[in-house]
Amino acid sequence: MAEEVASATAVEIARMVAGGSISAREVALTFLDRIEKVNSSTNAFLHVNQDWSLSCADLIDQKIARGENPGPLAGVPIAIKDALCIEGAPTTCGSRILEDYRPPYTATVVRRVLEAGAVPIGKTNMDEFAMGSSNESSGFRKCFNPWDLSRAPGGSSGGSAVAVAAGMAPVALGSDTGGSIRQPAAFCGVTGMKPTWGRVSRYGLGAFASSLDQVGPLSRTVEDSALLLSVIAGHDERDSTSLPDPVDDYRSALGSIKGLRVGVPAEYFGEGLDGEVAAAVRAAIATLEEMGASLVEVSLPHLPYAVAAYCIVSMAESSSNLARYDGVHYGARKGGTRGIDELYAGTRAQLLGREVKRRIMLGTFVLSSGYYDAYYLKGLKARRLIRRDFEEAFEKVDVIAGPTTPTAAFRIGEKINDPLAMYLSDIFTISAPLAGIPAISVPCGFTSERLPVGFQIMGRLLDEKTVLSAAAAFQGATDFHEAACPL
């Protein structure tokens, strides 16, 4: 049974646990054992607390013994990005400044998955404050791609993607600002979805860029992401940007794609796209067509400006959001015996990493007197043009399909000293958060070096249902998501 569980989906685990064929404790032990075996070679998890995981599992088993409904995620182990607060538990956001921080409250999404019966199995590695595309900017340790340990798992939710890819958890929570769920999902050969901005509460998520940040699921199958999204989505009075719109039962809404109009933007297949990635993604689009979807050429002419607009918007917002790390209210303090300004500057200098400093600097610059109009406002205007591209495209099509990333996983060390090259690696994922729309990445093939390739499907605002249906239909016709990594 343990072997069966190790490769089971969340849907299957919940069914087995609720049906009594295996206990939540046995499930948790199976995955904790796997973590014990492969975490040291991948560094997917920053914190694992076996006792707490098992006591959560026991609560589910007790509920079942009492005949109560254990919830839709009964006994499903879940990996949680370390940017999400859990009361009393380590929550570092990948930063040394929060190394000893213990939140006095729990993030709404975590509370919801626990209430749905999930068992927290550990907190995952990430780029510091979610700023990075390779997980190399973790304040603690690098994380490695289980398909090839010399390569980056992507970022910032690299640990969550590795946890799922290497079988340490069937599902995970991540957060996506410019691609931080979808890009690591693509690099690690798993499914990852960024929902519509505001679809999921961010109460208790460490803030990076508030007009872009969104929490979402990672899993092996689309069906599991649909299940998890139904649990975490919905209005939260503690997050005034969470949307009041009713939440679909995404899993039972997965349907046929006959007649679905799939937009294929020429801009997503231009210069810079790796040939093997292009071939796999074109084949994926052809698969949708074979299943009854119709392909429509669309244009997103402002794609070439997305990275520039994103840099301005995300870094400006992050410079403001990260002002809270001041060595006074919470988090660590270093230096500064000569007054309050030295205290701020010394603490931030010693405890924030280089990428975070770079973004705070750039964000502060574009907001500073004399440059605000030329940079910040210009970026916001470009953002409107990018959103308009999507609005016009979605008058003709139901979803837009293309590659998630321009290349498969790059090598660790390849881009870390060239920030602009790193930012440009997010070219295809950055537009969706700027426009607020939902987007998913699913595995669609491999390069000749046996590295996974991601297929991205984007949809209209709040139309997660259609995006998930298209992705699920694709997985129904292919088996790329079932391939096991060599680890």
């Binding site: 901005w197 402002h302 010394g346 770079r358 705070i360 502060t364 920030p419």
Partner: protein
Amino acid sequence: MAGERAGIDVGTVRYVAGLCRLELTGDEEELFAAQLSDILNYIDKLNELDTSEVEPLAQAIEIPNVFRDDAPRGSLEVSEALANAPEKTGGFYKVPAVLEG
């Protein structure tokens, strides 16, 4: 306005670092001057766009102000709010002297 562009020199790096309360080493100042200039050069690509008739868009879904009833409710105890403070005294955060004299 839009033509007013500047590369970033070490002096600008120091000025900006002061604004955001970051103490940088000499090496970092030079590194950031070069890297931020690179990034800003790239961002200048946006000048190809005519945005004279375009309104800025600060968030993708424009949500009106959200209010709730102004009714008292429970909140963190002082001890909980201060539990993560690096230094505290009594019921307060403790910091070096802010005012001189």
